[in-house]
């Protein structure tokens, strides 16, 4: 597609429920990244997929967080048993191999846990 597409754009969920966030990267971009941005804060790295290599999960804050990617296509970030501290904007980005020109970001999913 023309840009990185994320859905839903907003999600309100009850504490303890599971949520799935979706990211559709730019066609042909081999690398895909998930970041979290809490209100008024910087970007916190979560997970990185590059082609068929094993993902870099070093940023996932707990085992309640997981992500999958189908080939070089769509990715889903799953948060199980959501907590209020999970409330944030979840940003997805993609890049070509080597990321020479940086990343293209999606519009984000704003997650609110009540």
């Amino acid at each position: 597609g023309a840009g990185v597409s994320q859905s839903p754009s907003n999600k309100v969920t009850e504490k303890g429920k599971d949520v799935e966030l979706r990211c559709d990267p730019i066609s042909g971009h081999t690398a895909l990244y998930w970041y979290r941005q809490r209100l008024g804060q910087g970007l916190e790295f979560l997970i990185y997929f590059q082609g068929n290599s094993a993902p870099d999960k070093s940023g996932l804050p707990s085992d309640r967080f997981s992500a999958e990617r189908t080939g070089e296509s769509v990715s889903t970030l799953t948060i199980q048993r959501t907590q209020q501290e999970d409330s944030a904007v979840y940003l997805c980005a993609s890049s070509s191999q080597g990321a020479l020109y940086g990343y293209t970001f999606g519009s984000g999913t704003r997650l609110t846990v009540v």
């Binding site: 910087g42 970007l43 790295f45 590059q50 080597g98 020479l100 020109y101 940086g102 990343y103 984000g108």
Partner: protein, 112 residues
């Protein structure tokens, strides 16, 4: 571990004035990126700096990179209200093989 520090974190400046935002990082890197984020929006790429001494300019913004000093600057000339946003620098520590590390952002407010 790569650390990226921006300063100032908050900046209020008058229209027409000049100012510089600084981005320091802790380990060797030849690639640095600047992004802009408007409130409630995603990040938009501003500049890509890929070598020591690189300088890029777009309108009233100019970015530079000094890899020896591990420092990038974003200079604002004759600020206008439309430049009000949060500006992030991000550093690539391993030629695209590891995720970008972002600074905390500089929230710029340009006032009349």
């Amino acid at each position: 571990e790569l650390k990226v520090e921006q300063n100032p974190l908050f900046l209020s400046m008058q229209e027409g004035k000049n100012y510089t935002i600084y981005c320091n990082y802790s380990t060797t890197s030849d690639r640095l990126y600047w992004y802009r984020q408007d409130p409630g929006k995603s990040l938009e790429s501003l500049f890509v700096l890929l070598s020591n001494g690189a300088v890029k300019q777009e309108g009233r913004l100019m970015a530079s990179l000094d890899t020896k000093a591990r420092l990038s600057t974003l200079h604002i000339t004759a600020a206008v209200h439309d430049l009000s946003a949060t500006y992030f620098c991000a550093v690539d520590r391993n030629s695209g093989n590891t995720p970008l590390v972002f600074g905390k952002g500089t929230r710029l407010s340009v006032i009349a």
